[in-house]
């Protein structure tokens, strides 16, 4: 009895959500076309990831992901590697806010959501990755592709309890250029910076452009757009991105990169002025800006 008291402490969203569902939230969603890969042995991570990637047009078998996200010695997949595994297959993996409503809104937008659940107890954990593909407000259930079950209906409460014990960890994997509807600016940015690291630069540029359209005030996204375009060989596009970033933000990084690209374009005078401004702004990047200035005057 004591145990159950301890367990009931967490879930508070369900009654509120059922009592006053947001009016624009559909009553019922099920992404029936989401493929299903029954998990082999204990490999729910690769199966869940293959489900989400294939649903968004990146057809892949779980077996091909085992090498990338599965740790045989731990008989499971680490959360970080689930995100990295999605990225290695050309998808942007973005963490979602830990609310039931966010999970619902993503599925309503057509995005299957990978969730980490602790199906057991906090002191006897049974970690499990599954994919939420819909919900039914009237029946108060989520619909998941889970383990070896193609269509698992899980009561809101049960889902919330099992999800709560993973600190409500959930993400969507989308092709570059598409954004999760509920992601915060911070998480979307983090996802894109990580994506840029290994992605083809054209794909990274497309992803940054879409995110910058939603969050035009972000310096990181603006810099990412410039850097990705530059890496893709689009110097004119990079120049424009850095010019916009420098005009919007008094950032030595933006001015330095603008100067550097102007130099590559042979516009030495403009480059010098931009680099001088970057040096004036100073900060931890002063040395970099000075090096750029020296390169211009060489």
């Amino acid at each position: 009895m004591l145990l159950m008291l301890a367990l009931t402490g967490c879930a508070v969203q369900v009654p509120r959500l059922l009592g006053h569902p947001p009016p624009d939230l559909p009553r019922q969603v099920e992404l029936v076309r989401t493929p299903f890969f029954p998990q082999l042995e204990l490999q729910c991570g690769p199966a869940a990831l293959a489900t989400a990637l294939s649903a968004n047009g990146r057809a892949i078998q779980p077996q091909a992901l085992v090498d990338k996200v599965f740790l045989p010695g731990r008989e499971g997949s680490l959360q970080l590697e689930m995100l990295a595994g999605a990225r290695r297959h050309g998808m942007v993996a973005t963490l979602l806010p830990g609310s039931l409503e966010a999970v619902m809104r993503e599925t309503a937008a057509g995005h299957p959501v990978i969730v980490l659940q602790n199906l057991g107890l906090s002191w006897a954990p049974t970690w499990h990755y599954a994919v939420v593909i819909g919900y039914d407000l009237d029946a108060a259930t989520f619909v998941l592709r889970s383990g070896t079950t193609e269509r698992l209906e899980l009561a809101f409460r049960t889902f919330e309890h099992t999800w709560d014990r993973s600190q409500r960890w959930a993400f969507v994997a989308l092709p570059p250029g598409r954004l999760p509807v509920t992601a915060t600016e911070d998480e979307a940015t983090r996802a894109l910076v990580a994506f840029e690291r290994n992605a083809p630069p054209e794909a990274a540029a497309r992803a940054y452009a879409a995110a910058l359209a939603r969050w035009p005030d972000s310096l990181v996204l603006a810099m990412g757009l410039g850097n990705a375009r530059h890496a893709a060989g689009d110097k004119a596009g990079a120049e424009q991105a850095f010019r916009d970033a420098a005009a919007r933000h008094e950032s030595s990084a933006a001015w330095n990169n603008h100067a550097s690209v102007l130099l590559e374009l042979g516009r030495r005078d403009e480059a010098r002025r931009a680099a001088q401004h970057a040096v004036e702004l100073g900060g931890p990047l002063r040395e970099t800006a000075l090096a750029t200035l020296r390169a211009i005057d060489r």
């Binding site: 740790l71 008989e75 499971g76 997949s77 009561a155 910076v193 690291r197 990084a253």
Partner: protein, 133 residues
């Protein structure tokens, strides 16, 4: 022969000196990771470099093998992480939750507790239980 060696050494010195000078005066782009504050302060500090160095050690390789990973695959997987993620991974690899841990080893006591909590809707271990709420 000795003179030839000396000449060769001189040439090398000049090449290297040149290379470092060019390096110092080159206009460099600031990376997005740097702007986002997600990059390590210097390349030597980079968790990638630290993890890379760790992976050459025999005891670490043995540990990786116990996790069922070949060093090459592990290196590829680490390369897919940001600096920020790599440093968290280095801290967490022992403790982070991995999906699908084994319940079979857990005691009968736990089985009964779970059966009850399954029925109450707090957990979802057994496919045959139905939550009462």
């Amino acid at each position: 022969m000795k003179q030839l060696q000396r000449l060769f050494a001189m040439l090398l010195v000049i090449c290297f000196a040149n290379a470092t000078m060019i390096q110092a005066a080159q206009a460099a782009l600031v990376t997005t990771e740097q702007v986002a504050g997600m990059a390590a302060a210097s390349p030597q500090d980079s968790p990638h470099a630290r993890l890379g160095a760790l992976m050459t050690r025999a005891d670490v390789q043995a540990q990786l093998e116990r996790f069922g990973l070949s060093p090459d695959v592990a290196k590829e997987r680490i390369a897919a992480l940001t600096d920020d993620e790599a440093s968290r991974l280095a801290q967490q690899i022992e403790n982070a939750p991995a999906g699908a841990s084994d319940v079979l080893g857990v005691l009968l006591f736990v089985f009964i507790v779970l059966l009850v909590t399954d029925i109450l809707g707090f957990t979802k271990i057994f496919p045959f239980t139905r939550s009462i709420r």
